[in-house]
Amino acid sequence: MGNDTFTGGKSGANVGIGKVATNIDGLDEILRGGVPAGRTTLIAGGPGTGKSMFGLEFLYRGARSGHPGIFLSFEESKESVRENCLSLGWDLASLEKEGRFFLVDGHVDSQVLVSGDFNMNGLLAIVSGKAQEMGADRIVIDAVDMLMRVFDDPKRAQNETLTLHDWLNSRGMTSILTAKSAKNTIRSPFGFLDFMADCVIYLDQRIQAQVNTKRLQVVKYRGSGYGGNEYPFLIADNGIHLNPVSGVEMALDRDHQRTSSGDPTLDAILGGGYHKGTCVLVSGLTGTGKTATASTFVRSACGNGQKVLYISYEESAGSMVQGMLSLGIDLRPPMESGCLEILSVMPESMGIEEHLFRIVSTIKRFKPDHIVLDAMSAVKRIAGDAAAFDFVVRLVDFCKETGATMMLINQGRGFHENYEFTGIGLSSIIDTILILDYKDTGTELKRVLLVLKSRGANHSNKYHPFILTDHGMRIEREPDGSSREESAK
């Protein structure tokens, strides 16, 4: 077999299971390497969840890497299968011409005439003959429930499907069978498919806050470990995209690699600046200087030749740059030198998955050292609290994998709200929390900063007054002149 088949996986408990990489973005990570080689994988889900696309992408990517495959379509005509693929930029027709992909229109007229008993030998003969002719070792049957419908008796249908399954296995074909299911279950008459297949994947789509999100869940994988969560996915651009929260804790270089916040006094308060590759939350009321704090950091990092991606959900790139310019922070030079990229998107313009996909693609291309998300609170406008939380967790996880520093900006509407994101479990993934607030001194309203948390560092737990100057945010020296160690430098 080709070099994309391998044995074992990350869990170490699956020795002996050969796997075939699907090369579907993110799926192999969840399946710890891919689908079982020479065995059957069942993909079940409701209408419109993308079952066929999983099968097609598996065959398409395989065909392009030298593994011819056969697609048996019992639902759609050849033309519409080709058209669906072309909309994702997959040119099936040329793969067909080259003999690397074969489409069978298995559509059986519902008005077929039947007299006496029959079986699926015709299908087996076609698959067998064609597979031998093209050297195919991959097959997708879309959908197996349509095939089963030709048998009146459910028991017969079950027996015939088991025969087909055994036959495919005996031929060493790596197979994907799709099946329709109502909601989260593929109960009778197809329940046995769950037991039959070596790997079972459920697809589902739900609407939350008017946004439709598709999700994938692996419910069974004989002899292998797998990611057991529900993973949202998106069918966009050139295929299916899953962004699994891998939970792979990067062996973070915690040897005190620091990066300056842009203000020496704040660096001192933090015990030497932000930890590189960690997650920093800057939370505060409107107008407290969150964007200024971020921009101070951005300008400093870019000045040291590091690359920063600034995701702006609050305003356009132009108006953000103008706003900072009025504070004396000129972000134009780093933009021109290519150190700073501002990704400005309207939160409402698309769903969570598309947002994530766009950001992840940008990160993969631009490879930033640091990423600023301005603001986390705006993400809620995409699809509500729960989805926003999910979004942030996945984004932070992805950033940690790439080793980039992640600065999250959160706008709270009151002191309590400054912590609200941390209250729902986000705290564990955030390494440093800065709270910006106002303090009424009786004669003026002063901006103050509090380091609520800074993992692995000795930090001050005082409120530090700060001002926005022509050079960005500056922590003021202690008014009483006391020489605390963090304000000494």
């Binding site: 069978v104 229109d105 298995g106 559509h107 059986v108 077929v112 005439l113 039947v114 007299s115 006496g116 008993d117 029959f118 079986n119 699926m120 030998n121 015709g122 299908l123 087996l124 003969a125 076609i126 067998s128 003959g129 064609k130 095939l147 030709v150």
Partner: protein, 102 residues
């Protein structure tokens, strides 16, 4: 039987039965026997049975969308009928052919 051979198409017309079998498995064997009986009793002297083994020529099966076997394609009065199964239900077969030939 209310049907006689005159009912199946013009008297002079030859009828071609293309029978798709899967080797020598029981359903395919039964289909050969059943089809021959139908032909002998209703199409005597004016029928032709062509047997196609799908395992030997899968292309022919593919061309005609024969995924289930046995199956017979009947060419009669310019029309083309596909019947799946071992043709055990002869009444059903004859009824279909009578309707098609009208």
């Amino acid at each position: 039987m209310s049907t006689r051979s005159e009912d199946y198409g013009a008297r002079a017309e030859r009828v071609v039965f293309e029978l798709f079998v899967a080797g020598d498995e029981p359903h395919s064997r039964a289909a050969r026997v059943n089809l021959t009986q139908i032909c002998e009793s209703h199409f005597e002297g004016r029928y032709e049975i062509r047997v196609v083994d799908v395992f030997e020529s899968f292309d022919a099966a593919l061309e005609n969308n024969i995924f289930l076997t046995p199956a017979v394609i009947v060419r009669l009065s310019g029309s083309c009928i596909t019947i799946f199964g071992n043709l055990g239900d002869k009444e059903e077969v004859l009824k279909t052919l009578a309707l098609e030939s009208q």
